[in-house]
């Protein structure tokens, strides 16, 4: 159980916890490239990186792209406010950041009130964001988190040829979702090694089980799924954030069920969350988000 409110995350044996509700969703796109993408250390780093797999850099792409620290900080600030301390921040991504060595989650934590424990989940394709949600639910369920921010980020510049088919966005984007303690557990199902022909049947069974006797359900499907049904679809061109950006569009009072499939890694992920959406922190407080400058230390020292 987290016992103190200072810049350290402290925990002992897992305790009793809570479920979660979704409070806020803020998404932003960015067509511009970051000046950080032209840092002189990137060329030697990326040259060595691609050489491990016998690849060469794409000169026309090198020097473009976005930095997740700059891309995601505004959405983190927009879903948080100074009087709502956050315990946990999880960043999920698929396409690498243009700053390959930067621990961006730690930077984003410094944009958050509450000095949350922060880390990143990756190397799982679009399923990484579902794993991040599952982890937020698990930290809440074991008493270590009452308020959490899920961040998903993607940027479109990959400065070397792909060795296998994989989703690449057509522009840069980030989304942040604020979750708070609630009575209902978040359901996240992750199916592994699932062939495409099995997706529809497994999805239908999961939806039936997750929705139970719920009166109203909003279903949102990711860009990896085909469906003729009348459902919300992910924002086109954004394979990583496009689904999550639509979660703020659900009908009031309806259970939110969302899913995505990745044919490359074989993951089908299905999740159900109770939305109790509030207006964004910016609008709610009349002030610019958390009111905390990113990178600012909490000021209490590690004591």
């Amino acid at each position: 159980m987290r016992t103190v409110r200072d810049p350290m995350f402290m925990t002992g044996l897992p305790g009793e916890g809570t479920g979660l509700v979704l409070r806020r969703v803020v998404h932003r796109g960015d067509d511009a490239d970051s000046t950080l993408a032209v840092h002189p250390t990137l060329r030697p780093y990326l040259t060595d990186l691609v050489a491990t797999h016998g690849l060469a850099l794409r000169e026309e792409v090198l020097g473009t792209g976005q930095a997740y620290a700059e891309l995601a900080a505004p959405v983190v600030e927009a879903v948080t406010s100074a009087d709502e301390p956050v315990d946990l921040l999880v960043l999920a991504y698929g396409v690498p950041d243009v700053q390959p060595g930067r621990n961006v989650a730690l930077h984003l934590a410094s944009c958050c009130p509450g000095d949350p424990l922060a880390f990143a989940v990756c190397d799982q394709g679009p399923a990484a964001a579902f794993t991040a949600l599952r982890l937020i639910a698990d930290y809440a369920a074991t008493g270590a988190c009452r308020r959490a921010v899920l961040v998903v980020a993607e940027q479109s510049a990959v400065p070397y040829p792909l060795t296998a088919p994989a989703p690449v966005p057509d522009r840069h984007a980030a989304v942040a979702l604020l979750f708070e303690s609630g009575p209902s557990p978040v359901g996240v199902r992750t199916h592994t090694a699932l062939p495409p022909e099995s997706v529809d049947a497994v999805l239908a069974a999961d939806i039936a089980e997750l929705t139970g006797e719920s009166d109203g359900v909003t279903l949102v499907l990711g860009s990896g799924m085909d469906s003729a049904a009348d459902v919300l679809r992910a924002v086109p061109g954004l394979p990583y954030t496009g689904l999550w950006a639509r979660l703020g569009d659900c009908e009031p009072g309806e259970l939110l069920v969302f899913a995505d499939y990745d044919p490359a890694l074989g993951y089908l992920c299905v999740a159900a969350v109770e939305p109790q959406l509030r207006t964004t922190a910016v609008a709610a407080t009349g002030s610019p988000g958390s009111g905390r400058r990113c990178g600012e230390h909490g000021g209490q020292g590690l004591n």
Partner: protein, 408 residues
Amino acid sequence: MSTTLADVAAFLPERRVPVEELGPELGLTPTQVRVLRRFNGLGEVRRQQPGETLVDLLEGAARALPTLRGREHLVRYVLHARGVPVVAPYPVNPVHELRTRLGLAGATAFAVTHHACASGLLAIDIAGRLLTREREPGALALVVAGEQVFTQDERLAPDHRVFGEGAGACLVSAGGPGDVLLSYVAGQRGDLDHWGVDGLGAMDRFAQEYTELLSDVLLAALKQADLGIDDLALVLPHNVNVVSWRRVCRRIGLPVDRVLLDNVPLVGHTPSADTFINHASAVALGRLAPGDRYLTAGAGFGAVFSAMVFEHQGSGNMAATEVTELRTRVVDTLSVLLGQLLGGDLPAVSEETRLFDELGLSSSKTLELLLALEDELDIQVDVEEIDRRDLASVGSLSDFVVAHADGA
């Protein structure tokens, strides 16, 4: 249920490279290399052979886990704890290739990162929480850590530590036999960000505040576990260098000989894997006994400082005194039962007495002895993981019983 390290292993490539050979590669002067060896206590690092891959490195550690084989079906998660966020060109995916090689296709695999060289500790905490809500009894998570040194980040000047290649692995369970996690503390300082706007300034401040920040998380982790410095049997450090650990020891009053620094000159600093490599060494060197409380710590740019406290081969939440008492009763009872079994032929029995070689017991007789022990002490011993090494001597059998006893 508690987060438990059910099994820990390490893998080191055979190729040894002295720091003097690394000097030109790292752009160090001969004097700087002498400082590394004389002042920082570094000697050599391990490196893979040309052509070997990151997955080869991680697989070496996973296959060194004695209890993974035969339990693959129980592994629900595979986590790669990564110090460097990007180690392969997208979409090359080392953790999924590892999952395939190990025959763990049913497991969910992903990388955990952004805690620099403390990502291994974070991955253990994450794995424990995933398993706490897992429905299937006996479910496991495999955590692997280790990275290739494929480039030299110009910002990470190699003046205090040298990166080596090595890997660690552990199986995490929610309860059951193994090392029980008592506390985890992570202190984050996003303002000390070497990739941020004032990167060089942040690195300077990181160096200035390092001893204080690492000391504080060590003390916080002990306090969270309701322990003091004197309760610690051992500290498993990150192998950054010897001198920084001496400073931390002086600051918090920890005797330096309680920090396992043996691997610093032999292995160097392996991102996120030092905890596992040092754990394997501690067990091999006999530095951890059942019931011992030990701490492991790591730190890295970004910045993060983390520590975890464990109880070695603890029986759930059984206190160390209870473990010690149980072990004494087990040894005493085994002596009595061996007397009954062997009658007048019994030589003097001690913990070192070898059941097969000295007493001539067969495997089946030894198992009968174990059953009689259960009846005598009214305990139940989980024998699923017992092997011939556990049956070697009175002492090893006692260790196994204490670590695997329920209802004691």
